[in-house]
Symmetry: C2
Subunit: 257 residues, 2 copies
């Protein structure tokens, strides 16, 4: 899988330089755009490819507690304009992708991962496989199982507190912490998707201004699902680019230790 | 800024195909690796470039409520091994990058953005500038200001509820919601960083298993800061790649509307 390391050193260096340059161009090209060209549709293959790449993003414990809802038909797109509070990016979007977290599916996904570990075992499990079995069979259920009254959260907190007194320990943070974990992983996928669109010459606008309750209802999502962000896609216009790309000075956000 | 649209159609198509192919290679190359080659250091320029690209990620209201703490010196790296619970990725990391959310800096960053809007105004403000002034001067303070007793959260909830009865409305979600917003933006930056490393032929491992309290203490961070994730960087080894890249079947996570 470490493709680069199987090349000759020269071919490897050339490939790395090429990809690094391309990535720089992709990052430079990706600007949030709020007004898409109505005459340039986004090929279906571009979105499909972007979703496929998004799915390959790293994510917490490989639980993949995410869903990708592609708003594609003209009727669905029209329905989403008011749900996104009539913002211009939504009004002019050629396609939209709704990134959804599904923290509620942890049991199913842990079981799925456990199956994958078991599949890999021929004869006696090796050390890595043994820890895989423990991880998906014991640790994940311990971290993810929560009751409505918060008893588990309290137990987690107490364990973290006492175990953490003398040496570093993982501090679990209840349901709020798990919500954040799911949103982080989903955002990693969203960024892969947006960069993928940029690599194909299309612009995006990640939107957080929407009516979450109504979006969940329209997508027929259960209570445990949450909307991470809605990404509008299309070919951006000059008008849709709201001024220069302002970033705070590096010394305010980068620290070297 | 829309570079592609200023090329001839043929040159544009060629560039898009090149970048799309490169991006596909980068995504395929990026695998979480848990054991880095001790003999292959990561050039400083590679990390610097990755941080610069991460800073260009989209983020909520351009508040840039993030910080990038580069763990670079051998002493600092050594200190982080136990903080990351002695996991192999930390033990073998050549460099680490700690992604931090700084929700507490919202006032400063809103003021900074307000300055940028004002700078752009020559004479009478146009429509976009007027909404920029309102956005950073009024809306952000309204959404971000919270009191310890949760009165503001209650007011937000009531407004959202009543305003949302008849038409779509943005549902604010108190401090918990703002924490999630900051973590999402920070994760977008983390993914840009990891893909940047992959574009340069290096591997990463995003870690969530660490002692957040102790990490914050070592980095001298205030109470309002949170650790988003810690990314270990190096040249991965075969041993560090834990088996195939399992993803749940597409039909379980992708839905077309």
């Amino acid at each position: 899988m470490l493709e680069a390391s199987r090349m000759t050193p020269n071919a490897e260096l050339e490939k790395r330089t090429e990809n690094a340059t391309a990535f720089q161009e992709i990052v430079a090209f990706r600007r949030s755009n709020r007004s898409f060209d109505p005459n340039i549709p986004v090929p279906e293959s571009v979105i499909e490819n972007g979703i496929r790449q998004a799915q390959l993003s790293p994510n917490s414990s490989n639980l993949q507690l995410w869903e990708f809802h592609w708003i594609h038909s003209p009727e669905a797109l029209e329905k989403f304009v008011p749900l996104c509070l009539n913002q211009q990016a939504a009004r002019t979007a050629q396609e939209m992708l709704v990134f959804v977290t599904r923290r509620d599916l942890w049991r199913k996904r842990a079981a799925w991962n456990l199956e994958r570990v078991k599949e890999g075992i021929k004869g006696e499990p090796n050390g890595l496989q043994k820890s895989g079995l423990r991880y998906y069979g014991k640790l994940i259920p311990f971290l993810y199982a929560h009751d409505p009254l918060g008893f588990m959260a309290l137990i987690h907190r107490l364990i973290s507190f006492f175990m953490g007194l003398r040496k570093p320990f993982y501090r679990t943070a209840g349901v709020a912490g798990l919500r954040i974990v799911a949103h982080k992983s989903c955002a990693l996928a969203a960024q892969t998707f947006m960069l993928s669109m940029a690599s194909e010459g299309f612009h995006t606008c990640p939107m957080e201004g929407f009516d979450e309750l109504r979006v969940k209802k329209v997508l027929n999502l259960p209570r445990g699902a949450e909307i991470n962000m809605i990404v509008a896609v299309g070919r951006g216009t000059e008008k849709g680019e709201w001024g220069p790309r302002h970033r705070v000075p590096t010394e305010e956000v980068v620290f070297v230790h």
